[in-house]
Symmetry: C2
Subunit: 320 residues, 2 copies
């Protein structure tokens, strides 16, 4: 990967030369992590890089010993394999906001765990515990999931009673890191636009064929709202002058006090989440740079099955 | 009122004997407060008691001077008319949680403002400001509001697009303070039951004919939810042992990580708020003592118009 310098290669080679068995232990851990979907530091996964796996195996000595250590990790765990800082407690003040800190053996100012998300760290910890308790070959080679037929997926979607809305992007081939980072950012931004307007997202997700089609999908708890909403005013314990100003401005709407603040009832412009989605499709507010330029189609309910990529249906299958 | 002792009467008499004009100033302030619906310390109003009005007028010297002072009050305002504490700043540490503190001139340990709610204080402050800016007789004698016809109310209810659900209580005559305090408490408890289950209340209110019929009314933003909900598990930064336990228990439901915590999708028992209301009607969980024993009828949508008391329709009129 781009982040691996000749110093890194040299470090790993020196260590594995001393102890050749390490090479197969490293392969084992990589296979395990791949199967558990936590392998890879790129944007798509935000998991463990190849170099990080190598350093962990070298430090702990074997695949099993890494797992035995990992089972007691938690968010914020710090490791300094070559003891370059002399004090692991202070690391968290230097490498802030990281889910896990593993000091690079050849560069004390670099955290090899910087790319690992809290989610992937948690998934690896749980997988380690489960493997140690009940080891089996399936942790390395999970049984290929059989996709359920489309008709069954449609039925399940109906049973859940939720509402699905999707942004389908058609775009030229994009750098994969760029693509996934923009999908993540755009998903978060759209979710915020929905929630700010009192719609409620049940589960957001994204998918891409990594060529020309990407989807940001929202399963919604609340997708329809009444024609009115609260326009919130100042709290009753704020400066009286603010309260009076609100009163004057909205006198005709009949201000009243709700949970300690003045409010008036006002018209809600968008009563369906689809209207908000269509507005965003026009303005592209909060969209990643390349997704701004993509062609966007908004799909709701059963319409999402018009995205016929088998891999997207597997994505949907995992949600339903 | 029950709270007024001979010492209070004596204090007010002595002060008004010195300055007879005060009596009409007091009457003016009471009339103003009644019209602004902030007069009365009882549970129904939670406003200013008669004695408090008298002490305020005596202290400031006239109706107008009370309003001129009140326009700059805010929540937490403290007044010690006879300077019994010598230090008004420390009062808020003694009389905590009060919207306003007015030390009783004949008992330094009593706050005459204890019954005043933040809401009624705010309403009085705003009314004072508005009167001073634009004085008129209507502040003392507000024009009698003409109720709109039932058909118009039904139309408005439809236009709002909200959903109304009411608990109609049939009960024997109750002490008024008891009745209103139980209506308030029961309303808050039902609202919490709704919101805990992800339903959303737009505006709660209560009404009573103070004889045999009371109503707790909820206008809802969200009254229907999907067949599934999240069952939340431990956060990803909690002890791994908790995370693993959740995983083992819900393995078949496919745990996943959402906003930093493990969740599984699980069936929602009550998809409509009416089902929750009916459950509460049976269990009476969180109901005031006397309302537990009352006969309860649950009404939704247009059914609330079967409550034909003219005063209830005025209550509804004020909401729509």
């Amino acid at each position: 990967s781009v982040d691996r310098t000749p110093f890194h290669t040299e470090y790993v080679q020196a260590k594995t030369r001393d102890n050749p068995r390490l090479k197969s232990e490293i392969r084992l851990l990589k296979r395990f992590m791949k199967a558990q979907k936590v392998y890879g530091a790129e944007e798509k996964t935000r998991g463990f890089s190849g170099y990080l796996v190598e350093v962990l195996t070298i430090h702990y000595g074997s695949f099993l010993k890494v797992l035995e250590a990992a089972k007691d990790w938690s968010v914020g765990y710090a490791l300094d394999p070559e003891n370059l800082w002399g004090d692991e407690k202070s690391l968290k003040y230097y490498f802030t906001k990281s889910a896990i800190i593993v000091v690079d053996p050849v560069d004390k100012n670099r955290n090899m765990g910087a790319a690992v998300s809290r989610q992937k760290l948690a998934e690896f910890i749980i997988a380690s515990r489960e493997f140690l308790e009940n080891p089996s070959i399936e942790f390395f080679f999970p049984p290929k999931k059989q996709g359920r037929p489309v008709e069954e997926l449609k039925r399940l979607l109906g049973v859940r009673g939720t509402y699905f809305i999707a942004f389908k992007f058609s775009h030229p081939q994009l750098n994969e890191n760029l693509l996934y980072s923009q999908l993540r950012k755009t998903m978060a931004s759209i979710e915020k636009s929905f929630e700010d307007r009192e719609f409620r997202v049940f589960r957001p997700s994204f998918w891409s064929n990594e060529a020309d089609t990407s989807v940001i999908l929202f399963e919604m708890t609340v997708h329809e709202l009444p024609k009115i909403k609260h326009h919130p005013g100042p709290p009753v314990n704020s400066e009286p002058v603010h309260q009076e100003r609100f009163h004057e401005k909205y006198e005709k709407d009949g201000p009243y006090i709700l949970e300690g603040r003045w409010v008036v009832d006002t018209e809600r412009k968008n009563t369906r989440v689809r209207q908000v989605a269509e507005k965003l499709e026009k303005t592209r507010d909060g969209f990643g740079k390349n997704l701004r330029k993509a062609r966007v189609e908004i799909l709701e309910g059963d319409e999402i099955f018009s995205i016929e990529h088998a891999d997207f249906l597997m994505h949907l299958d995992g949600i339903l």
